[in-house]
Symmetry: C2
Subunit: 213 residues, 2 copies
């Protein structure tokens, strides 16, 4: 029962392109970070799509799904950029009518609101009392499974800085975004990792690290 | 006959730690980026040391040495930080009496000066008319071999932005520096790479990309 992060990041270190907003939540060029995943069976299934590739990349996505019992995300990842949320703390965000999450999702925010149901019976829960409280709630929901900090970079970096993160998995497609939202902003924690697993495919490199505490 | 870059970078994207200066040219913690290489036979040899490990990491360093016919570096990499050079354009830098370079080295600078000999018969050449001129001179010196942009990050990014770089090799040890000198500063070129080779060891991951032009 670990706290893990798992995110696609460009070779130059960005998890979204520049000028991300509600219309373009991944920013300019940001969809290129995720192209490696769209064709995979394990991605298509929870998005309501049939078929897809069953490659080693697919195995890794499938593994991530099966071990995840709850998800934590920052409020900007929920709302698709900071703009809409600042204007309306009840903004619905951009995950649409059928969010692809197969577990409860805990959103880090300063605005209290009622849990928002998903059609599959799970809920978005809004946690206003900090990252440790969110983790506690997520662990309770996850049971024996792991808790995933899905993003954005700021949320991952906060859990890392607090010494709470156990594992960092980076999916690195061969892309340079040039600018955008950093996974690791300057002023983050210094520390040591251990290389846990490296899986390479023509489309993406999967780098998994254990955090040394 | 390619133009290649080959540099160690932390998981969070830094090629030197914070507060780099002449006394500490790699910055705080920056030596952790290079610990994977110090024990290798192929690193010890050009530094005048005997013995060392012969591992897959060693093979990669040896390969890099054998294909390199000339080196280009930025002035801060030559002088060990910007401070000394700003005060004295003839500052000797920090490479010491026996620099480890086995080829001519071309230093990008705004200060013209005479070539500086190394004991092995090669020279540091100081090029004041830009990155293309330095590349032309380096290519002439390299013959059939490749030209290596050794660093720092700014020099690599300039050659990449100019469309002159053919290959990017990153050696990524499991280290977080938290802050320091970025390999890829924001505002760099966006573009596509191709994954050429991934070699993993317990100490470091070697990621080699071809630049798509």
């Amino acid at each position: 029962m670990s706290l893990i992060s798992d995110i696609s990041v460009s070779v130059d270190g960005f998890v979204a392109g520049p000028d991300a907003d509600l219309d373009d939540p991944l920013g300019q060029g940001g969809e290129r970070l995720h192209e490696w995943i769209f064709g995979l069976a394990s991605w298509r299934d929870p998005h309501g799509l049939e078929g897809g590739e069953t490659t080693p990349d697919d195995d890794i996505v499938r593994e991530g799904r099966s071990r995840t019992g709850a998800v934590i995300m920052g409020r900007r990842m929920y709302s698709g950029g900071s703009g809409p949320w600042e204007q309306d703390p009840n903004a619905e965000g951009w995950w649409g009518e059928k969010p692809p999450f197969e577990t409860p999702v805990f959103v880090l925010t300063h605005h209290a609101r009622e849990p928002k149901p998903m059609p599959n019976g799970h809920h978005f829960h809004f946690v206003t009392d900090g990252i440790e409280a969110a983790l506690e709630q997520a662990r309770a929901a996850a049971g024996d499974k792991d808790v995933l900090v899905a993003g954005g970079g700021e949320a991952i970096q906060q859990y890392l800085a607090a010494g709470l993160l156990d594992e960092v998995q980076l999916h690195v497609p061969p892309v340079l975004l040039g600018d955008g939202v950093r996974l690791f902003a300057a002023g983050g924690p210094a520390g040591a990792l251990e290389i846990d697993r490296v899986v390479a495919s023509p489309a993406v490199t999967h780098l998994r690290y254990r955090v040394v505490k």
